[in-house]
C-alpha cells in the first residue's frame, strides 16, 4: 500500500484499540459545533441532504442543514423517503449516491492535447480538489471507501486523480441504529458498526429521554476537535445504549449473503441459473452506478471543431453494456447472462483474488435501485440451492 499520510487508516485505527479512544456524549448543538469546527479547519463538509425524494451527499453549510426526522422504506426495486420520528436524525440509511462520486467523479478530464508546430502537446489538468470532510458515512460505505483505496492506490500503479482527492479526507462515520430491508452488512462483516477507518464515529442514542450522540475519536487528528465540542462525559450507560442500538439494527436485517459465497460462485461459473437471471436483468447498469465500489470506466476522446484542441475524458462505465467487452469482430459477453455473471462473480468472488477483499460491502443499493428488483443475496442463495438439488 502507498503511504497514507494524513489519512485515516482503518487497520491502524483498529489496532490502536478501544482503550486509546476518546468518547463523549454530545447534543444536537454538539453536531453544529462539529461542522463549524471542521469548516474552521478548512474542510468543505459534505453530508446527508434530501434531494429529489432521496438522501444523497450534499454540501453542508451549517448543522441546521442536516435533515431531521426522516426514515426510508427500501426493498427490491423500491426506495421511498418517509417521515419518521421527528426527534431522530439518522434513522434513514444509504441512498442512491455514495461517496464514490466525491473521490472518483463520474466524469473527469484526463488531459488536453493542443496542436502545435511540432505535432501536439499534452497538458494534465490541475485538480483543485477541496479538502473534504465526509459527514455521516455509514459503516458499509466506510468499507467501500477502503475498497476503492485498494483499487486505486494499492496496486503497482496509483491513480493520482483519486489520490489527490482522497488525501486528507476527514471522515465522520455514523453507526446504524436502524437497518433498511435491503441491508445485509452484518453478513458481509462491514456493519452496522464501524470497525475503524474513521476520524470520528457517531451513534445516535436516547439518553434521559432525549436524542443524543455518543461520539468516539478514531484518529489522532480528531482528538483536539472532539475535545473542543460542547459535551458531557460518556458513561457506561451511554456506551451500552449505543451497543444495544447497533445490535438491534444487526438483528433486524432480513437479508444475508450465503456463507462462503466466493467458493460457491467460483464452482458455479457454468450454472444454468445465470440464464435464468439473465432473462430478468434489463442490462440497465443501475446496479453498477449505485454501487459504492464499482470502479469501471471508459474513456472518450473529443476534438474541437477546428481540430486545434483535443481532450480525453474518463467516465464511469458498466460491465452490463455490450461495448464493454468489445474486441474487433464482436463483444466477448454478448449474452445478458454472461454480463450478469461477470458483475456478480466480480463483486463476490474474483475481487478477493484481485484485491484481497470482497467487492460487495452489503449496502443493498443494487437491490433497491434495480428496476426489476433483482437481489444479489437471493441470486446467490438460488445458486447455493441449485447445488443442493444436484
Amino acid at each position: 500500500m502507498v503511504s497514507r499520510k494524513g489519512k485515516t487508516n482503518g487497520d491502524a485505527a483498529a489496532a490502536a484499540g478501544a482503550g486509546t479512544m476518546e468518547r463523549a456524549v454530545i447534543d444536537r448543538d454538539g453536531l453544529d459545533a462539529l461542522i463549524a469546527a471542521l469548516q474552521d479547519d478548512g474542510y468543505q463538509v459534505t453530508g446527508p441532504a434530501v434531494r429529489d425524494g432521496a438522501i444523497v451527499p450534499g454540501r453542508l453549510a451549517t448543522g441546521a442543514d442536516l435533515p431531521m426526522g426522516w426514515t426510508d422504506s427500501q426493498s427490491g426495486g423500491h426506495y421511498r423517503l418517509e417521515q419518521g420520528d421527528p426527534d431522530r436524525m439518522f434513522d434513514y440509511v444509504v441512498g442512491p449516491q455514495s461517496w464514490k462520486a466525491s473521490l472518483y467523479p463520474a466524469e473527469q478530464l484526463l488531459f488536453t492535447a493542443r496542436r502545435g508546430e511540432h505535432g501536439f502537446t499534452v497538458d494534465e489538468p490541475r485538480i483543485d480538489a477541496p479538502r473534504l470532510a465526509f459527514f455521516g458515512v455509514r459503516p458499509c460505505d466506510l468499507a467501500a471507501i477502503r475498497t476503492l483505496d485498494t483499487v486505486f492506490e494499492g496496486g503497482p500503479f496509483t491513480d493520482t486523480r483519486y489520490q489527490v482527492r482522497r488525501e486528507g479526507v476527514f471522515i465522520v462515520a455514523v453507526n446504524c441504529a436502524r437497518s433498511a430491508d435491503t441491508c445485509f452488512c452484518a453478513s458481509m462483516g462491514t456493519g452496522p458498526k464501524a470497525a475503524g477507518g474513521y476520524d470520528l464515529a457517531l451513534t445516535e442514542i436516547t439518553a434521559e429521554g432525549r436524542t443524543r450522540f455518543l461520539i468516539e475519536a478514531g484518529s489522532e487528528r480528531a482528538r483536539p476537535i472532539l475535545a473542543n465540542l460542547p459535551q458531557q462525559p460518556a458513561g457506561a450507560k451511554d456506551v451500552e445504549a449505543a451497543e444495544t442500538a447497533v445490535a438491534k439494527a444487526a438483528k433486524a436485517q432480513t437479508r444475508a449473503m450465503v456463507p462462503e459465497v466466493e467458493a460457491l460462485l467460483k464452482r458455479n461459473l457454468e450454472s444454468p441459473h445465470w440464464d435464468q437471471v439473465g432473462k430478468r436483468c434489463l442490462n440497465c447498469s443501475n446496479c453498477t452506478l449505485v454501487c459504492p465500489t464499482c470502479f469501471c470506466s471508459t474513456v472518450e476522446d473529443r476534438t474541437s471543431l477546428d481540430g486545434h484542441e483535443a481532450e480525453r475524458r474518463r467516465r464511469w462505465d458498466s460491465c452490463f453494456t455490450m461495448d464493454f467487452s468489445y474486441v474487433h469482430g464482436g463483444s466477448i459477453r454478448r449474452e445478458s447472462s454472461s454480463r450478469y455473471r461477470q458483475w456478480m462473480t466480480h463483486k463476490l468472488a474474483t475481487w478477493h483474488d484481485q484485491f484481497g477483499m470482497s467487492g460487495c460491502v452489503g449496502c443493498g443499493r443494487c437491490i433497491a435501485w434495480c428496476p426489476v428488483g433483482i437481489d444479489i443475496t437471493e441470486e446467490a442463495r438460488a445458486i447455493a440451492d441449485s447445488e443442493g438439488r444436484k
Binding site: 511540432h118 476522446d301 449474452e335
Partner: protein, 294 residues
Amino acid sequence: MDTSLAADPGPEIPPARWSGVDPMMPRPFTVKRVRKELADTFTLELEPADGGGPIRFQPGQFNMLYAYGVGEVPISISSDPDDPSVVAHTTRFVGSVTEALVHTRIGSLIGVRGPFGTHWPVEIAQGEDVAFIAGGIGLAPLRPAIYRVLSERQKYGNVVIFYGARTPEDLLFRKELQSWRSRFDINVHVTVDRATGRWNGRVGFVTQLIRGGGFDRHSSVAFICGPELMMRYSIQKLQEHGLGNDRIFISMERNMKCAVGFCGHCQLGSQFVCKDGPVYRFDNIEDYFSIWEL
C-alpha cells in the same frame, strides 16, 4: 520423466517505471519511419519527442498508442528488445484508431504509454527446444521473442517457427521469414489457409504444421500468438504431441481502456489481462479458457 519446468516462471509484472509521472498520461513520440508491411498493416518506428529516455521493454509487452483526438489502443511492441534506440509497432488497420495510426506520416507525433504487461519468458526455455506458433498479425508480438532467442542462439535447442496466414498476401515479415529460413539453425514452416496467385507453399491451417513436429515433446517450450480459436487448436495439437500446459505460453487479447488495472475492461475471471497478462503460462488460465463468454 518429469516434464515440468524447474522454476515456476509465473506471470511476472516488470517493475513499473513511472518516476512520478501519471500512468494515464501519454508521452509524445515522433514517427521516425513507416514501413508498409501488407495492404492493411504498417510498422511505425517511434522515438521519444520529450527528451526522455527510450522505452525499455521485454518481448511480448505492449504500449497504449494515442492518435491525436481519435483514441488510444493497445499495440504490442514488435521490435528488438535489445535495441533500445527504436521502438516499433506493427499495426493492422481494423477501425478508427488503428486507421488513424496507420495514416500517420514520418515526423508526426503519437502519444505513448507503456510498456505494460507480462512478457514471453524465453529465458526459461534455455537448453530446450523452442516452438513459436503464430497466426496472422500474431507474428508481430512474437517477433521480439524470436530476436531474443536468435541473439543467444547457442543457448537453445532446436528452434522452430510455425506461421500461418489467411492468404500469401497476408504473410507478415516475409523477407525476414525468408532470411530466417535460410539459416541452418532454425526451422521455419509457413502455411496459408487459401492459396492465391503464384503460391507454391503449403496450404492448410497452422495447426496442421504442428503435427510435423521438429521439437522435442518433453523438453520444449511453445509460445503462441494469434486469434483465440487458432490458439485453442494449437494448444490441442501440442497437448496431443505430449507437451504439458506449463510449457505453453499464449498472449490474450481483451478490450483495454487503461492498461493499469483501473478501467476493468480487460477482465478474464480474476485476471486483469493488462497487468496480469497479456502473456500467460497456459496452465494458469486454462480453467477460464473453456468457459463460454467469461
